[in-house]
Each structure stands twice: as C-alpha cells, then as structure tokens.
Amino acid sequence: MNPALLAFLKKEFIQALRDKRMRLILFVVPVVQMMVFGLALSNEIKNVRLAVQAVPNDRLAHKIGERAAESGWFHLVPADDAEPFELIRTGRADAVLVAPPGGLTRALARQSGEAQVLVDATNAIKARVIENYLNAVLYRVLRDENPTRAPEAAVTFDVRVLYNPTLETSAYLVPGVMGLILCLVTILLSSMSMAREREMGTFETLIAAPVAPWELFLGKTMPFMILGLADVPLMIALGVGGFHVPLRGPLWALFLAAAVFVGTTVFIGTLISTFAKNQQQAMMGSFLFLFPAILLSGVMAPLENIPAAVVPLSWLNPLRFFVSLTRQVMLKGTIGPFYWTNLAALGLLGAAAATASVQRFRRTL
C-alpha cells in the first residue's frame, strides 16, 4: 500500500480513537441512540384520552366509551361536568363524545341517532386517526346491539399490508434511523478534518511534503469512511437482533449500499471542510447540511408529498436514497431495478461530491 496513505490511516485512527470521548461518540452514542429511537418511536396513535359526556342512564354512549377503552387505543378520562370545549382546551382530554340531549340510546330507538365528537386537532394527523378509530368502535357497538340488522356495508375492502403486516414501527423506522446516525457520524468526522488541520497549522506539514493531491485527498477521506463503515455491522446486528427487523435481502446488498453512502457523505463533509475557515464554520456548515437532509430523508415525513419545487433538492440528499435502499433490502428483499437505480443515484451524487471536493481541494493547496 502507498506509504503516504498508510501514514494517514494510522494518524487519523490514532487521533479519532485515543480520546475516550471520541470513542464514545463513534461507537457508543450511535448504538444507544438506535436503541432509544427503536424502542421509543411509534407512529401508531395510542393512549388517546377520551371523555364521554352523557347522562348516566345513556347506556349506548357509555358503551361506546367502554368499547373504546377496551380497544387499547383510548383510555377514559372523567368528563366531570365541564364544558367539553374546556376539557380539550385545557388538555385534559384529546376527544370528547357528546351525546345528544335525551341520550344516544333514546335517539337510536327513533332511528336518528347522532352524537357529536369534539377532537383536538392541534395535531392534525392524530385528529384524523382518532376520528377513524371512533367510527370503527361505533360500528362494532351497533353490530353487537343489533346482530340481525347489522349495518353491513355493500362494499367491503379486504386490506392486506405487505412487508410489515403488523405495522410494526421499529421495522420501518430502524432502517431509517440507521441511515440518520451513519450520516451524522461521517459528516461530523469529515467536515472537521481539514478545518482542524488549517486551524492547528498542521496543514503546512501536509502541503510541504511531496505528496500528490490525490494522495492527500484519499488520505483525508479514507480513514473516515472506514470508521463510518465500522458502525454498520454494529447497527445491523442491533436492528436485526435487538429489534427483529427482518433482513429479507442479501447482506452484501446492504453493505454495498452502506459503502457507497458512507463514501458520499465523507466526500460531502470534506467539501464542507474545504469551504470552512475554522472549525466553527465547519460545524455550522455541517448542521446546515444535516438538518435538511434528515427532514428530507423520508424518515420524518413521507417523501411523496414534497412540493414539486423542492423535489430537485431531495435528489441532492444522499440520505433519502440510502433510507430507500435499506428499507428495500431489509423489508422487501428484492434486488431489482429499484435497488440499482437508487444505488446509481447515490453513486452519482457521491461522484459529484468527490469531483467538487477534489476541485476545491486543489484550489486550497
């Protein structure tokens, strides 16, 4: 191996791994974060606080409340005699079922039952889900009440969910969080690298030596790629072993995607680094890359909804492609055109970042 590259590898590894706090950041923090997010996060709306406001003898209204609590989505909170609006405004309830005057039971006997539901819509997503939950509960209550005249729908849908039939949040979130953490670690490492040499003055040592620009460039990028890739098996093991995320596709496909991804992020970090005059600017630069990258990754919000004007921006986001790739390999498992086009897009992005940072590198030498 080229002795200059070898020297760089040794030097960067020593610098990154000697400090205990750096080792923590590199290997412990990613695993801990993955565990926390894997365990904690869920898209499912649960523990909705429901209050039922009805006269005590309104059997049907209270039955809806009981059934809702049994479903596991809701738990009941006392309605007291408070104004339903106040219950929600003060945050004591997320939804209030208000029976019609005279009670829902009597109204139903007249074939015209209508109850009002107030839902806190500060969280718009949650509000819609609560509405659907309550309709499902009502449907079941009515069927139980009146087995002969079941309000059978004329058309029914048999819904099957593929790849993640139980809608397990961790199965879809863990591959995404893996990408987020990997991106964070590699960008942080590489964006500081050149800025630090420049601030410490050791940049002079590098440029006074008779090394070719490409040797310098590889020397300042390869070590971080290797350090980043070292996190990959750790995270896959945790995801598959700890969270039972399926790994339906071949392992090599996952590693190939991770390698291309890590290469791309390290090149982007290096590019940020060549623009930064000091470490502070490097850090701000990396934050300004990371924050949009995370929000546009498809982990935080569905990518389908991105406004057309911003779509080209998301094509510049390596995280977006990597998250698609890990989900494809782990959950779907087929290595087809989808895999290869995403990988090619990621590779293209990496090549562009490499070219740009080599250009900037030459200019700063």
């Binding site: 002795p3 040794k10 000697r18 410490m200 003055g201 002079e204 440029i207």
Partner: protein, 304 residues
C-alpha cells in the same frame, strides 16, 4: 553550483506585490539569514523556495530543480520548518515523526534509524511516547527540526525557528544549526533576533518586498558605518536642543539607545568642537556598530 538561485522573483497576490523582483543566490553549505519586518516578504519568498507557492514572475532554482520540474521535486529536496507550529499536539513524538516519514515515503527501516540518530543529534532526552502537547516549547521546536530533517534534505528552510523560545533553548538550537552546516547542509533562516543574524554567513535584509542589502554581517557594518560610531552619555543632564544642534554641526545620526545615544559622526572637526563645549558633562566611547545599528541605518536610507 549554488543551492538556491533566484533571479527577478516576483510574487503578486491580486494587486498586492509581496515580493518585488528580487535576485540572490545561496551557496552550498552556507548559513543564509533572511531579515526584515513582518510583512516584508520573507515568508512569501520561503514559501516559493519550498515549492508551496508558484512564482508570479522570475526564475527560481532550488537544489538544481526549478518549478518547471514540478513543485513536488522541489518539496522532496528541501526541509521546511514553518513559522506556525506544525506538529499534531494530540499525537506523540514518535507518532508525529512516523506520520512525517510516511508522508515523505521514507522506507520504515531507514526512517527508524534516522529518527534515532536525529533525536540524539538534537539531544532529545524526553520519552518519544510523550504527547507533543505536554512538551515544553523548546523541545517542540527540536522535534519540529527533526521532522524537517527526516528525509535528509540538502537545504533546510527555517522560518523564525526560535520565535517564543527561551534564550537558553535558542543558543542550543543555533549550535544545532551550525552543526548541520558543518555536515554540508545549506541553511536558510529567517529571524527577528539580531544576535542570531550575527551567526549567519551572509544576511539579506528585506523591506517592502525588495532586498535592500545583502552581505556578511562584518561587511554590512563596514559599509554602513565608514565613520566611527560613538556612544555618548550626558552625566550632568542634557542641554535643551543638543540633538538638533549636533545634527546641524556634524553628526549623520543620533539614535537613542537606552540611557545612551549612538552618534555617527561625519565631520570630525565639528564633533571635536561639540565635545569641547560640553567637557565634563559628557562621556564618549567609541563602539563597534551592532547589526541593529546597521539595520536602522539601512532602513532609514531606504526610506529616504
């Protein structure tokens, strides 16, 4: 053949001319001193000679190589100890030196032997596995010198190597520099300290991008002070306006020097009359001019 040959070298940054048509040569085995105020163009010149910066105009040959051969061939033949501290302070001494030898592609066996020899040469008696951060300033300087010498360069460029180092460490460092010159290496050094400049075989004085004087220290003194230099001290208080009257009557310059004044006489008869007028209140000694006197004079001359 000379170690360094520079003719009509000019370096411009945008509209600013840092180095303005300078020409000089440095012989093999010479200790060549480069003096001048900050911003005079010393460091820019060194960066050209070490291959870090391309000249805007002019011809440069270092160790027989020119920029036409590629900056890297120059870099491989010279050692450079930058003004800035260029060791990694979070690495140990031996890790730093191992990195430099890797960077310069020195075979491991050769570099191990050289590191041993050079550390002995600079008298490094600390543990090589100490972090550079924990070393005292003088020792860091020694290690930097070792790093600059690892690839056994013919020419060593030292840019203010003793800035911020104790006087004892400075004189030790200069003993090392003389030792290197005896081995036949060419030393090119910039400094602010006049006592260090006295150690050089020849010195060049730079000002505003130009070389305004270049010779051996003794020759520079002789040229700048053809007339004797006197040190005077007023033992019983100086009369008002004495400097002006002295300058009118026969002194080329009167420069305050601590409690004394250095006076350069160009009209002997007038000076003798002046001394006669102030007998008993004035002590006069003839002194050899220091390099500092020389530079004050040269710089004033260039300003005029």
């Amino acid at each position: 053949m000379n170690a360094v040959e520079v003719s009509e070298l000019t370096v411009r940054f945008d509209s600013f001319t840092a180095v303005d048509r300078i020409t000089f040569a440095v012989g093999v085995g010479e200790i060549f001193g480069f003096l001048g105020a900050n911003g005079a163009g010393k460091t820019t010149t060194i960066r050209v000679l070490t291959g870090l910066l391309s000249p805007t105009e002019g011809r440069v040959r270092v160790a027989g190589r020119s920029f036409a051969d590629g900056a890297r061939t120059i870099k491989s033949r010279v050692g450079y100890m930058s003004q800035r501290f260029t060791l990694y302070d979070d690495l140990t001494v031996s890790e730093n030196l191992a990195f430099t030898s890797g960077l310069r592609k020195i075979p491991p066996a050769v570099s191990a032997e050289r590191i041993q020899r050079l550390l002995r040469f600079v008298g490094f008696n600390h543990s090589p596995s100490a972090l550079v951060r924990d070393l005292p300033g003088g020792l860091k300087q020694d290690v930097s010198l070792v790093a600059a010498l690892l690839h056994d360069p013919d020419i060593v460029f030292l840019d203010e190597p003793t800035a911020g180092v104790s006087p004892a460490a400075r004189s030790k460092f200069w003993a090392l520099i003389r030792g290197l010159a005896r081995e036949g290496k060419t030393i090119f050094v910039t400094t602010h300290h006049m006592d260090e400049a006295e150690e050089c075989g020849r010195i060049a004085l730079m000002r505003a991008g130009r070389i305004i004087a270049l010779d051996s220290p003794a020759e520079l003194k002789a040229q700048s002070f053809p007339d004797p230099l006197l040190e005077i001290e007023w033992t019983a208080g100086a009369p008002a306006g004495w400097r002006e009257s002295l300058l009118e009557r026969g002194a080329a310059s009167v420069v305050p020097y601590g409690l004394h004044h250095h006076v350069m006489v160009n009209n002997r008869a007038a000076w003798d009359r002046f001394v006669g007028e102030h007998t008993g209140r004035l002590t006069v000694r003839t002194i050899a001019p220091s390099l500092e006197d020389v530079f004050i004079r040269l710089v004033e001359g260039a300003d005029r």
